[in-house]
Every structure is written in structure tokens, then in C-alpha cells.
Symmetry: C2
Subunit: 293 residues, 2 copies
Amino acid sequence: MNLAEFNQSVREIRDDRVRGASELARRCLDILMITAGKTWPNQSAAELQRCLLELADELATTRPSMTVLQNLLRQWRQGFTSHFPLKDLAAVRQAAVNQAEQLIAASQQAVRDCAGYAAELLGRGRTVLTHSRSSTVVEVCRLLKDADLRMIVTESRPLEEGRQWAEQLAAWQVPTTYITDAQMGLFVAQADAVLVGADSILTDGSVVNKAGTYLLALAARASQVPFYVCAENLKWRRAEQPPLTLEEMATAELGVPDWPGVTVRNVYFDITPPELVSAWISEQGCMDRMPKR
Amino acid sequence: MNLAEFNQSVREIRDDRVRGASELARRCLDILMITAGKTWPNQSAAELQRCLLELADELATTRPSMTVLQNLLRQWRQGFTSHFPLKDLAAVRQAAVNQAEQLIAASQQAVRDCAGYAAELLGRGRTVLTHSRSSTVVEVCRLLKDADLRMIVTESRPLEEGRQWAEQLAAWQVPTTYITDAQMGLFVAQADAVLVGADSILTDGSVVNKAGTYLLALAARASQVPFYVCAENLKWRRAEQPPLTLEEMATAELGVPDWPGVTVRNVYFDITPPELVSAWISEQGCMDRMPKR
């Protein structure tokens, strides 16, 4: 792998605005598998090993607001290095690929299990309001699409991933209402529940998710509508991890001119405090309060 | 005035998405003045009188969420008809124009007085967050632009009147931060105060304003940032007026395709309850609680 390929892989993850955190974390493992499979002249086992570890470390820095990406890559590194020393190139390849495949399968299963619990909690015939497009929430809707589910989805500025989401729900024939983010306060009272995914969950249960989620949680609380968060355990931040950074993206995404003296801001995520969360749903089930510490 | 001109005047007010409620209300009076000045063959005083009253009544129905428009046109009607019977065409014209001019001047003065009180309340060196573009808030900023004012403004979907607003603030050299509506919860804690205008204020003090205002008020309360509403008295709804309708605009404004089974909604206004309002500022001063009823 040359430097250009290395940088391109890192850039792919850094610039992705479509996939949710879990999908993107699994894509990092894909990239490690593809890299492990590549050949270049005079390649040695030690070189490939070093290259893969460097790539994993670099990928883990790309999306500071997405804890699952850091956690999944850390697990991959632990599993991969536990096989050291590896005797030849083939063994390095096999260890890297096996470890990635195993973690991808586990992550997919975790998302399915999360979604199963969320679908059970919601039940039949519900109207659910969500913000942005979480792959875990997509999976919940897939499970409930023939159970009289109705959805309210937001456009989700600036890149409006709500469009792709509405199109998916239309294909599933789920009756859907599509609103601007600013209308969340008007429509939350029509929902039986709010369900969102998460990019990260902090140690105190605070939810890091697409900007606007905090406003939605405030409105849900004011209307006494339950606010559920559905996210696999690997999205929880551990106490020893450094403080989370809220990613800010290119201001060009807002599509406005360069006014003198005007600072355009495009912070992608906000933080919803635990007291606004009715339940955290993971692959282990539902938890309706944070354990006392 | 023929039917086409009549309908065009009504349509102008109905379709305007740029001007705030006060500006639009005054524009209705402009239209009545222009209409009063028009001549057509064999016109009689009685005909012009009838035409102007019909136009005023029709204009009053165009924007059900904007109480000031209804109230200003009601005042115009009262003043105009108080001169009846009018002896000739010239007298009808003069009564219509005088009445409109007087009310436009009073409305402009009311907005200036509101803004004066708001500027006094805010004081020097403040960071103020606002949503949408209110002509009264514009006037407040004009008064404070050389008093170390800093603004945080929202894009205000769907038509993004925040753009025009940011451009104005840039021209005034007011340091400004421009954000998506969804980022209001992230930035409210950086503000010393939230200041918004209103399209209407209900008898209990609830504030009808651009969708998203309610979310901002919730976030302001959660961050203990004062939430001020600045609106002339004519925006208050009187008990005898019918319940207010929240206007819904063309869904084409959201710019999404026609997905089967997906209902696109574009409700322009939401309602902020009085308990989230720190003070109502009118041309009579500041009121920090609703009088007991």
C-alpha cells in the first residue's frame, strides 16, 4: 500500500456524510481487510503488519464524535496483535481478515439485537418521530414496517439525509410525514415515541447525535412523549477515553456566500443530557435509568 | 379596479415570504392607498367605497397567523367608515388615504418604540440569538449596531430568510454567527439573550412565531438564557377574535420529490407558551409576567 492509497482510505471515512457511525465503523474494518489482501513488490510480513496497525490507528482518529469507530478498531487491534508473532505474510493476512470478519459479524448482530429490543418496546401501530438517519433506527423500522408503523422524519440539515430515509420508508409503504427540523416542536406531540440512534453515548448516559437531537429531546419531554435511544454497546464511551470532540464539517455544506464578518458554523452533533432520555436500548435490552455510580 | 387587480393585490400579501408581519400589515394599507388613487371609467364614490372595504376585508383573511394584519385593517376600516357618508369620489379617496397614512405612521412609531425598549433592556456588548428575520428585531440591531452587539442568526428553513438577515448584519459590521436551525441548542448557551419578534401573541401571552421558535425557547430555558419577545401591541390577539390558525405553506418550498405515501408538511409557525417567555416588550415597555386574569 502506498501513501496515496493510505490517505485515500482515511479520506473516505473522514468525508462520509451518508453512513451512520456503526456502518462507518464496519467500513473501517472492510478497508483493513482490503488492505491486507493487497500485494506490492518485496512485501514482508513485518511491513504489512506495521502498515495495517498504522492504518487502523489513523482510521480511529478520523471521526472523533463516533466512539463506535474508535472502539471497534481498538478491538480489532487487540485481536490482531494477540496472534503475534505471525510467521509469514499469509498468516498476517489471515489474522487481519479473520479478526475483521468476526467483528463485523458481531457488530451486525448487535445492531439487529438492539433493533429487536426497540421494536418490542415500541410495539404495533405506533407513530414514531426520528431525527437524522440512523442505521439502527432503519433496522427497527424494517422490523415494524408491517406492524402499522407510521413515521415522522426530519429533513436533517445541512445535507438532508432525511430525503434518502423518506424514500426508503416510501419503498416499504410505511406512511410517513416529512418535516423541516424546525417543525419538530410542532409534530412531537403527534408521536407515540421519539426514537433516535447515537454517534456516541457518554459515560453519564448523555447522547451524542446529529445536531437538533437535543432540541427534539427537550420538546419530547415538554410533550411527555418518551425519548428512546437505540445504540449498540460499543457506542458507549469508557471512562478512560479522552473527552469527546463534537465534529464540525465544512461550512460550504450550508451553501451560503462568504459574508464579511459572518462566521458560518456547521457543528454536526449535539449532546442530549441523560435526564431527557426515557430509555437506552442496546443489544442487552432496555435500561430506563443510569446505574448509580 | 378590476377583478384581476383585486386578486393580484390579495395574492401579493398571501404569497409574501420575505416581509415580517408588521411590514406586511403596512403593505396592506399601501395597497388600499394605491387602490384609492386609481381611476376607472364611470367610477362612483359608492363603488370605490365598496371596493376598498371589500379589499380590506379580503386582505384581512390572507394571513391568518398574523394578527397585526387583521388588527391594522380593522382599525383602518373603523377610521374610514367613521367618515361616512362621504360626499364625493375625492372625499372617499382622501378618507382612505389619510386613514392609511396615519396608521402606517403609528405602526412605524410603535415598532421604533418597541425596539427602543428592547435595546435598553439588552444594553451594550451583548450576544443575542434570534430565529427567522423580524423587522422589529432588525430595528433593535440597528439601534445597537455600534454598541458592541454580536448576533447569532439561524438560516430559518425552508426559505432561509436568515441569509438576507446575515447580509444586513454584515453590512452593519455586526460580528455574526450563522447556523442551521438544528444548531440552536448548541449555540444558545453562548448568547446573553434570545430575542425574537412575533407574528401574533395570544391572549395568554403565547407567542406565535416562525416554526422553530418554540424549540429555541425550550433550549433557552434549559440554559437559563432569557427569552424576550419584541412586538407591538397590535400583534396581541383580543379575546373576541376567532382561534388563530397556524398557516401552512406550499410543500414545494422544501424542494423534495413526490414520494408515494409520504406527506410533506410545511407549517410556518409554532406556539411558545408564556411560561417560557422572560419578557414581552411592546411600545409601552417591558412586561415580565402576564397580568392575572
